[in-house]
């Protein structure tokens, strides 16, 4: 037995010296970032590897948009999945490390406000009503439906929402309350959207919000609440078609992939990005997200070819921006 452990330790030491000569893993496309964008990039990665017969390897991690940008700006990954545009601080980090990037909107993510299917009184909600429920001032005071709208019954509201670390939380608060990360704290919060799905589907007085894909997979147990479009005054149902035609505002947002400009010189990354944009429409529908108009994907490829680096957001998020606007604007580092 002792001899064996001696061999094991000898091997360990040998290993420590041997791998100094790093093997050639040039053919890996490294991706990290948002969990919201993950299902799309995963689907693309899976099909890409199959199409290339595994000659090119792709890895996808989930560090969150913020965590992913840290790695991206340290020059560790080739692509970055982002559920929001790059922030001013992240822009500065990337600039300091000399990392240039191409910003590519790839899909819409629609936040869906859901209620229990047995809830009969709630047919629609306005942004103001949702704000009344969710703003920090509501904490401890707004506990019944009729406090939000006198037409609603005298029954308790059970709130379910995203945890404070998620991009979903950030966007919902920005679009509804008007200020990112500003929300009441006395609700059932979870980073795991399935917990929220379960909660609302089991409580007749439940109301919650999460990404559209979770609603699309659980339509039998949940009812999507139509949200009144502040511009037209009409209630709009959460659906793929309404997100695509731009009427489901303010709760739909574009999500992004950032590609490192330097990596685009590598043939395997270039091929992957081309594959991504060509198959985006089909794969995005398959994973229950809403694809952008085809022109957007062609625009992304064109930007990559022309080396149009930088962001069009200038370091801050915007509610209700359309993809056409994004593509028209001038990108800046």
């Amino acid at each position: 037995m002792f001899k064996q452990s001696k061999i094991v330790s000898a091997l360990a030491v040998a290993g420590l010296t041997l791998f100094g000569a790093q093997a050639a893993y040039a053919q890996i496309v490294k991706i990290d970032g948002s969990s919201t964008v993950y299902p799309i990039t995963e689907a693309v990665a899976e099909d890409f590897q199959k199409a290339k017969k595994n000659a090119i390897k792709v890895t996808v991690g989930i560090s969150g948009t913020g965590g992913g940008f840290k790695k991206f700006c340290r020059d560790e990954t080739d692509l970055q999945n982002a559920s929001r545009p790059i922030t001013a601080k992240e822009m500065a980090d990337c600039k300091a490390a000399g990392v240039e990037y191409i910003e590519m909107p790839i899909a819409y993510d629609a936040l869906t406000v859901v209620i229990n299917p047995k809830n009969t009184f709630l047919k629609q909600a306005t942004v103001e009503e949702l704000k009344k429920m969710w703003e920090p001032a509501a904490q401890g005071t707004i506990t019944k439906w009729n406090q939000v709208n006198p037409a609603w019954p005298d029954a308790p509201i059970k709130l379910f929402g995203a945890g404070a670390d998620s991009g979903t939380f950030e966007y919902f608060t920005e679009a509804i309350v008007g200020k990112a990360k500003s929300s009441r704290g006395d609700y059932t919060a979870s980073e795991d959207d399935n917990v929220l799905v379960q909660g609302v589907s089991r409580d007749i007085n439940g109301i919650g919000y999460f990404g559209y894909a979770y609603y699309a997979e659980n339509m039998a147990r949940l009812k999507g609440l139509p949200i009144v479009n502040p511009k037209t005054g009409k209630a709009v149902e959460p659906s793929g078609a309404n997100v695509e035609n731009g009427s489901y505002v303010p709760l739909s947002r574009p999500i992004f992939v950032y590609v490192k400009a330097k990596s685009m010189q590598k043939p395997e990354v270039r091929e992957f990005v081309e594959f991504y944009m060509k198959n985006a429409d089909k794969l995005i529908r398959e994973v229950k997200y809403v694809p952008l108009p085809k022109a957007a994907y062609e625009g992304n490829l064109k930007h990559a070819k022309e080396g149009k680096v930088g962001t069009v957001f200038g370091g801050h998020n915007e509610v209700g921006i359309t993809v056409e606007e994004i593509l028209k604007r001038e990108a800046k580092m």
């Binding site: 037995m1 452990s5 094991v8 959207d193």
Partner: protein, 311 residues
């Protein structure tokens, strides 16, 4: 004081026996609650995951389609990480334990070291992850590799191995040590031929308990950057890398990106599509199976080694 009558003594004995029976019953109830929970858990996972437990589940990579998804990269990753963990933690932990028991002088420094090692076993695993992110991933430049993960988990279980080694050594009768030294053996010879072989069953138990803890750890592995989607295996020694006909070295796999079982399970439970919960249950069952197999091997080895000890 008056002597007790036979009747009184009988009552006293009966009362004592009643309490004895009561306690026995309580013990059985407590035991069955524990067992019941385990059986329910494993049974529930098995029932829900049974549909997916077939050969393909082990030979396929993860996929966006639940029914075609497998755990190939996860179970291979877990096994390789455990290999690195054991290779690093066992020699370090056993040597440290032997030194503390057999060589170190008893003074306040060793006392402090002793207290610290015991406390280290209670440090939350995420702290080890943060430490490893700074040291292994960036300072040493090992990157997000199997090596980084293995060494991180090795740190995590090191205190367990050290404590187990010391306990095992302490249970060896002093006369063995004295006998060996009396015939002129040095301290090292005593350790080499007596202490280590006799302590081996106990050390092994500690190692397995440590590895069983490490196999389920998710937090530190995520911290150092294990991946979620990875549809290829680390390069096998001397296999073709696909780059200019070069072949992989003996230890290239330790630098490969990887994923492990708990991460795969976690990822599946947080999917929108409920079909992935079946996969998560099946993978959970496999992970349980891996832990139980490790325990079984440990028990078998311990049994065989104990048979060879003749005092």
């Amino acid at each position: 004081m008056q002597p007790m009558t036979t009747e009184q003594i009988r009552v006293l004995i009966a009362r004592g026996k009643l309490k004895d029976t009561l306690f026995q019953g309580l013990g059985i109830i407590c035991l069955s609650i524990g067992l019941l929970v385990i059986f329910l858990l494993v049974g529930d996972m098995l029932m829900r995951g049974l549909d997916r437990l077939n050969i393909e589940f082990f030979t396929e990579f993860a996929s966006r389609r639940a029914s075609q998804s497998g755990i190939l990269s996860a179970w291979v990753g877990t096994l390789l990480v455990m290999l690195v963990t054991a290779a690093a933690a066992v020699p370090l932990g056993v040597a440290a334990g032997i030194y503390l028991e057999e060589y170190a002088k008893r003074n306040w420094i060793t006392d402090i070291i002793e207290i610290n090692i015991t406390n280290l076993a209670a440090v939350p695993s995420i702290v080890y992850g943060l430490l490893a992110l700074g040291i292994f991933v960036y300072t040493f430049g090992f990157g997000q590799s199997i090596l980084s993960a293995g060494l991180t988990l090795a740190l995590l279980i090191l205190p367990i191995v050290i404590v187990a080694t010391r306990e095992a050594i302490r249970s060896i009768p002093a006369m063995i040590r004295e006998g060996s030294m009396a015939v002129g053996a040095t301290r090292w010879q005593t350790c080499r031929y007596h202490i280590i072989p006799y302590a081996m069953p106990g050390i092994l138990t500690g190692v397995i308990i440590g590895l069983a803890r490490a196999i389920g750890e998710t937090a530190p592995i995520i911290t150092i950057g294990a991946l979620t989607f990875i549809a290829f295996l680390p390069p096998a020694p001397f296999s073709a890398t696909g780059v200019d006909g070069a072949s992989a070295g003996l230890f290239d796999w330790v630098m490969s990106p990887f994923t492990v079982m708990p991460i795969q399970i976690f990822n599946w439970t947080s999917r929108p599509d409920p079909a992935f919960e079946v996969n998560a249950a099946a993978a959970g069952f496999v992970l349980m199976g891996m832990v139980l197999t490790m325990n079984a091997i440990a028990i078998y080895l311990r049994y065989r080694m104990r048979k060879n000890i003749k005092w």
